[in-house]
């Protein structure tokens, strides 16, 4: 478990009774006092105007969020996100939650009928607040560096999730591999082998939109996947299995004892999109040398895909279930039984995609 940052509890407190008013005041103050962004990032369908005075956090955003003006589409959504702490002079200390437990389901139900969304991290005293109406987000921290150690690899994830949650698009928990613009989505909870499969494929020059969280969008008649984050993660044993000894030798492991790196660090192509999604694969660690891809039921795919995404991301859960059910119904679903040889795994996926061309 990561070390909990300590912070001075000097700010006000908030309860369910005054949460909405507090959120509205904070969002409005940010909108009035900080009009000019410090950085602009362009993802597919989403432009983020980022207001952030924390060099550390800004650096993580600029390094780890895929940012390419070429991703802009005609109906590009534009949102402002304010990442702030009392040192900025924009807002005071974020209020501490003054009830025994921040009951996620209860708070989400309360906010459901409003344009507001929120999540709260009790250990760090951080609020993530988003207002769909003004398309404004607020990451309200106790200090410029008081963010959890998992934030750097996926900064602004909750805001991107909220902003992309429409009937046509969603941020989903999946890995991707592709070639010639066609790709598979690999779904399953952590430890299922999807991330190491993605790293193995990228190291062999396959295309990918990401190994953990990707943006899926129904465009016209097809379903495409787009990159959001550029960072991949593997533990030392996983890197050793792939023969990627340089990564662990040159860098320091993160709080999960995993190494964070980019596609270029393993000789791969940068994260890319759009990739046309041809199928959903459910990785399963096998006990044979060879890798096989065999048909799986829609129910199996739904069980592998939906709970890990719907339960990890705050809010938008009912619409998320409907989106994932629709996605599973649209696509062929297969079980990817992983063999021991990483090159064989990659070859099996390449052959599978070639058969779809």
């Amino acid at each position: 478990m990561p070390e909990t940052k300590s912070f001075a509890a000097g700010g006000a407190s908030v309860t369910g009774a005054d949460l909405v008013a507090t959120m509205r005041r904070a969002i409005e103050t940010c909108r009035v006092k900080s009009a000019v962004p410090d950085a602009i990032m362009t993802l597919h369908g989403l432009t983020i105007r980022l207001h952030c005075k924390s060099p550390a956090f800004l650096g993580h955003c600029l390094s780890n969020i895929v940012n390419d003006p070429a991703f802009a589409m005609k109906s590009q959504k534009i949102i402002d996100i304010h990442v702030t702490s009392p040192e900025d002079g924009l807002l005071g200390s974020p209020p501490l939650w003054n009830e025994e437990t921040f009951q996620t389901a209860k708070i989400e139900a309360m906010l459901e009928k409003t344009p507001l969304r929120a999540s709260y991290n009790d250990a760090y005293g951080i609020w993530h607040i988003y207002d769909h109406e003004s398309a404004t987000g607020l990451q309200w921290m106790q200090s410029p560096v008081a963010f959890p150690p998992w934030e750097p690899a996926g900064p602004l994830r909750n805001f991107i999730h909220w902003a992309l949650s429409t009937p046509e698009s969603r941020l989903i928990h999946a890995g991707t591999l592709g070639q010639n613009g066609k790709a598979v989505l690999m779904v399953g909870r952590g430890g299922s082998g999807k991330s190491s499969t993605v790293v193995a494929g990228i190291a062999q020059r396959m295309q990918s939109a990401g190994d953990d969280y990707v943006h899926v969008r129904h465009d016209g008649l097809g379903t495409n996947v787009y990159p959001v984050f550029s960072v991949m993660k593997q533990d030392a044993a996983g890197l050793d299995r792939l023969g990627l000894y340089d990564i662990s030798a040159k860098s320091t492991a993160n709080w999960q004892a995993k190494y964070e790196f980019g596609a270029q660090d393993v000789g791969g192509l940068p994260m890319t999109g759009p990739l046309a999604v041809m199928a959903i694969l459910i990785p399963v660690i096998g006990n044979r040398d060879d890798t096989t891809i065999t048909p799986a039921s829609k129910k199996e795919a739904m069980l592998a895909l939906a709970p890990s995404t719907v339960l990890q991301m705050p809010g938008e859960r009912i619409s998320g279930m409907a989106f994932f059910a629709d996605l599973v119904r649209r696509l062929p679903c297969h079980r990817l039984t992983l063999g021991r040889d990483p090159a064989g795994i990659v070859a099996a996926i390449r052959n599978f995609l070639e058969a779809k061309e």
Binding site: M1, P2, T4, E100, T101, F102, T104, A105, E108, A109, E112, S119, Y120, N121, D122, A123, Y124, P148, W150, A153, G154, N158, R189, G190, G191, W255, Q256, S297, K298, K299, M302, L303, A306, P307, S308, V310, L311, Q312, M313, P314, R317, I318, M321, A322, A325, V328, R329
Partner: protein
């Protein structure tokens, strides 16, 4: 007549080729229903009463009234469905699809992700160390 409805907004239900998945957003548990269990749930959620659902299962040895009631009571205990005085949708017996698979109704329960929703914050899982950080653990 006894009717049930989905416990919205805390629960969700999706059907795939006669098999279904349910999810409880409040507890973080998710459920895999066999074909016969899915048939019963689909019938109930389409507005059929318990009696009408039992009638649809006539002839199936494993799907008598006791089985149907047992399944429904289990789903109530999980918080996935709740009794309602009237059907929420207009059920039409002539619209009932197919016949049930004659096997005992089975519900598999998965709680491996429950900490995602039960914990205070939403953040990244550590497979080996579990989810940080419930308030009591902090």
């Amino acid at each position: 007549m006894t009717y049930y409805r989905l416990s919205e907004p805390n629960a969700a239900h999706e059907d795939f080729d006669g098999e279904s998945v349910m999810l409880d957003f409040e507890t973080g548990k998710y459920f895999s229903l066999s074909k016969s269990a899915s048939f019963i749930v689909e019938s109930i959620l389409s507005g059929a009463s318990v009696d009408e659902t039992v009638a649809q299962c006539a002839g199936a040895n494993h799907l008598g009234r006791a089985s149907v009631n047992g399944l429904l009571q289990r789903l109530v205990a999980y918080g996935l469905i709740e009794q309602t005085p009237a059907p929420s949708t207009g059920y039409r017996a002539d619209k009932a699809v197919s016949s049930p698979v004659d096997e005992p109704p089975v519900v598999e329960v998965f709680d491996d992700l429950a900490d995602l929703i039960m914990a205070d914050p939403i953040h990244e899982v550590d497979e080996e160390r579990g989810w940080p950080i419930r308030k009591a653990d902090a």
